[in-house]
């Protein structure tokens, strides 16, 4: 079990995370937050690349900094900006990382074959990576993270650059993997985690805002989400009174999905909230700000 205990992190005077408390046991955890919320910061602390300014991170009761190699041995990590050696082939690069992960050469070779097949790169396994597309590199990164069959798999925006087909494949892969390990993935794309995460963690204002299953989190705005169709002329007026989640054209009218705390009008149909609704609602200020700027 991985425990984050009252962890804060400051970069100089700037505080990126404040008093974070989390617990991870086997399963998929979705770290869902907008840009700049501190997802990568948290993940880098979990991978011992940076250290908490205060608080501690424990694995089975021992500080991960003290565990050192014993902890990192269990770790698989895909960084957000996955760097690679341009003149190496995926095979060479994975061999190197296998060596760094302290794996036996034979085991590396066997695992490598399986993984390259899994991420559909077996055809280019010996080609230099400098000719690879962004999505292909990302898949090398995913393979690399899983090379040592990690007990703790941490992926920072793993689906960035993947096409829909690969995205689906990747999702299925993760839910299968997560049966007997901790999988933590960060994303700001709701659909990535919606179907597979056992638990969602949302960070706002440097702190953990929500932590729970998707159903639990969706309950936070239950009974507040509606859909209705209105003529275009009324749209602007209407949107001032409610919080609009999504809009689309339908039969010359504007079909709008929104959140309102007022007593509903008869033309409104109550709908079941989903994760995206929560995300949009929770981060409405951030989103409006960044939209305005």
């Amino acid at each position: 079990m991985l425990v984050v205990n009252h962890v804060s992190k400051s970069y100089g005077k700037f505080e990126a995370l404040k008093d974070i408390n989390l617990e991870f046991s086997n399963g998929v955890y979705g770290l869902l937050a907008p840009n700049g919320a501190g997802k990568t910061t948290l993940i880098k602390m979990l991978t011992t690349l940076i250290f908490p300014s205060s608080g501690e991170i424990l694995y089975n009761g021992t500080n991960i900094a003290r565990l050192g190699e014993k902890y990192r041995e269990l770790l698989g990590y895909l960084p957000q900006d996955f760097g690679y050696y341009k003149n190496y082939s995926p095979r060479q690069f994975l061999s190197y990382l296998g060596a760094l992960k302290g794996m036996d050469k034979k085991v590396v070779n066997k695992r490598m074959d399986e993984l390259l097949k899994l991420v559909a790169l077996e055809d280019v396994a010996t080609k230099k990576m400098k000719k690879f597309s962004g999505g292909m590199i990302q898949r090398v990164g995913i393979a690399q993270a899983m090379l040592n069959d990690p007990k703790i798999l941490i992926l920072d925006e793993p689906t960035a650059g993947l096409d829909p087909k690969e995205r689906v494949r990747f999702r299925n892969l993760l839910s299968e993997l997560a049966r007997d390990r901790i999988v933590i993935l960060s994303t700001h794309i709701v659909s990535d985690v919606e179907s597979i995460a056992n638990e969602i963690i949302m960070i706002k204002d440097k702190q953990v805002l929500y932590k729970g299953s998707i159903d639990e989190i969706c309950k936070k705005i239950a009974g507040m989400v509606y859909e209705t169709s209105i003529p275009y002329e009324q749209a602007n007026m209407f949107k001032k009174e409610v919080f609009s989640l999504s809009e689309k054209q339908e039969d010359g009218l504007l079909k709008i999905r929104f959140i309102s705390k007022k007593t509903p009008e008869p033309t409104w149909t109550a709908v079941k909230p989903n994760l995206e609704d929560v995300f949009l609602y929770v981060y409405r200020d951030d989103i409006q700000e960044s939209g305005a700027s």
């Binding site: 690349l49 041995e73 770790l75 990590y77 960084p79 341009k86 190197y96 760094l100």
Partner: protein, 418 residues
Amino acid sequence: MNVLRFELKKAFQSPVVSILIMLFLFFNFWLIYKHAGIREELKVTNQLVERFGYKIDSEMSAKLQDYYQSKLQKMNKLTNEKFGKTYERAGDFFAEYEHRNKELSEEELHVITETAIVESYYELIQKIDQTYRHLDLSQNAKMDIKGYGLSGKTAEVTREYYIKLKNRLDELIEAGEHKNLFFIGYVYHMHSFLFKDLMRQMIFEVMILVVLITGHVTTYEFQNQTCLTVYASKRGRKLMLDKLVANLFASLCICAVILGATLLVYFLVFDYSGLWGIPISSFFNSEFSFPYISWWKLPFGIYLSCVLVVFIICQLFFTVITYSIAVWIKNNYLVYAVFAILFGFCVLIPGIIPKNLTAIFWTRYTPFSLILNPHLWFIGWNVFTPKKYEWTTTVIWTCLLAIATVVTFLKFNKEQID
């Protein structure tokens, strides 16, 4: 072990390294080639040593005289036939008939040249005692003090220095260490050629390669943005340790390649057979009015080995210096710049210190100052080449760099990797 192999691969995969090695070897071979004209003349020395041994004593001297006389006779017979003239000295022929060389066949010219060389040996041997009798080291002290503008404490150090060197010189003369044959330094300058021109060139070549490789390998993960993946692996930040080992090993490889190839060609071109046991302080090795006086009795072979050891140690120092800079700076081009600045700084410092402070001496105990004069290593030449200069520098910098490395590791272990 496995990781080390991958790090070494990074060291040598860059085409720049291979191209530079080729280029540098070409420079070295070119330098040797330019000097190779005297190759045949040098062989006379080997012949003499083979015939009479290299130890000069009265018995050997007498034998050499006989040999010289017979040579001179042969030569005169030849010149008599050709030009109807005989000479008292072979040297006179060259003074007088430079332009007539062309009228002689190669073989005939060779006879005369050889005679002239044997003659030089014979004549120089007669001058040895006189030359050493006239050496006045207190005069050297005065010249150093005046030449370098020393005063006060530093002038005193200089006088003490020459007293020490005088003791060594007396000892050397007593033991007859100077009375040995060698290539004639005044004429061929082989000591300067090998240990100054060639060795210094190699020092800088290897230094460039070593700094290049070490900067490259050490900053590699940061330059390729693989630092997050790599330093979060099981090996983690200890990879920096592997990189240090790989760098040191790569430096040794570079030393082996450059030194090995260059010296191999050098000794194939210039025949040192029979001369390896001759002390470097031999009178014949001297190239100027002041002879090379090694602080210990060092036969040529041992001297060369010692020079190579210091050479390699210096390169390992440069490796560790570059490495320490690179762990802090993480950008290889900046690392090269900082190294260059450090180099310039360390070389310039001794020159700008007031001449009455002893700091002008101890600020020279750096590998950067040390490598400037490889031909004076282990030799008492002037007040800036004290006894044990090389070893003291080595010991001091081994300690300094050990501390620097430990500090660097501690720092890197606590460092945030972004």
